[in-house]
Symmetry: C2
Subunit: 182 residues, 2 copies
DNA sequence: CAATATAAATTAACGGCGTTAAGTTATATT
DNA sequence: AATATAACTTAACGCCGTTAATTTATATTG
């Protein structure tokens, strides 16, 4: 998994074959199939490792504040930055066409848990009457769309003449929060 | 191109091979290479066709109103709905990892033109002093992130228990516009 | 220690893929 | 009818994910 993760990060999912991974670890390709059902399974397990950390990170960072809106903001920031720091895994879990994500794909994954963690604080904001309305699911998914958008755009379209990264990220977060605030 | 487009739409980019396309049109696989440099070129040209229409659609729809904010809103809506109506092409142009998008990938493509068309109206909003600030590029890219987020999420994660489609789309657009308004 | 059971890894192969080089068939031009 | 050009195909290369059958290494016994 370490070797595979390194290669995915360095060369992107599509350019890493089972044969190359086997080569790198000094085993024959078929050996990998003794430990992972198939390529999708291997990738899936790597991502689970990674996104378990995302959930932790978000939880930790949110506890640094007690203003619900500030918690929300820092959670959104962490999500985006985590995605940009682990572009291969983010791509696999959130961007790539489903063939990669096997059945039960996203539901009951650590990706989902990370998402749930991040948006749990939306409930707090609603309780504190800080938002325009109180449809927690709708607000959460709206926020998710926004932060997923900027994350995937920055990962996938590095060539695009984007405004400075951090400024764009802040702008998205500011716009979203200002858009849902009461 | 017609056959290939149909197959991409029906089975997704990854599951369509040059051999299958050749089969469908009753030619040998190599014949395709007489008309297209490679698979990426074929796909690229199909997408150019499609996104030329998106630019037209946005322009047409925006002309139905003369309130700049309403123009903006209808352009955003059209972008999202177009993406959902042509998920394969949207995926190829905006979602898929770069290997598919050859060099010069997104810049100087009809995808870029569609984007430019959609956000040209941001300038009008700024001129009319309708927005919080006047950094046109920043606002445009922020909006793009938002609408790309919801579009790609809905395309890629059909299984996710999303709130009703149109409601989520409206929520994203409302949040974005309300977030940038003065 | 030798015999055997089990675990770990490999070899060989299948069918698929994108793509290229060389050759063939069909159509147009003289 | 002869030739030039366009359209298309055959055969192959080197990849890919994956499986079945087999071998090698390690542990467990008597």
């Amino acid at each position: 998994m370490d070797a595979a993760r390194e290669m995915f990060v360095a060369e992107g999912y599509a350019n890493v074959s089972m044969r190359k991974i086997a080569d790198k670890i000094g085993y024959s390709p078929t050996t990998i199939y003794l430990y992972f059902k198939d390529k999708s399974d291997l990738v899936h397990q790597i991502c689970e490792q990674t996104f378990a950390r995302l959930a932790q990170n978000i939880k930790a960072i949110q506890q640094l504040s007690d203003n619900p809106l500030e918690k929300l903001r820092s959670g959104l920031r962490e999500y985006i930055h985590f995605g940009l720091k682990h572009p291969s895994q983010y791509e696999i879990v959130f961007i790539s066409p489903l063939p990669i994500n096997v059945e039960g794909s996203f539901e009951d994954s650590n990706g989902k848990i990370a998402f749930d963690t991040m948006i749990s604080v939306v409930g707090e904001c609603v309780s504190a009457n800080l938002l325009k309305h109180n449809n927690i699911e709708l607000i959460s998914q709206t926020l998710w769309a926004g932060i997923h958008g900027v994350t995937s755009l920055l990962i996938q379209h590095g060539g695009f003449p984007f405004v400075e990264r951090e400024i764009l990220i802040d702008s998205v977060i500011d716009t979203l929060i200002s858009g849902i605030k009461a």
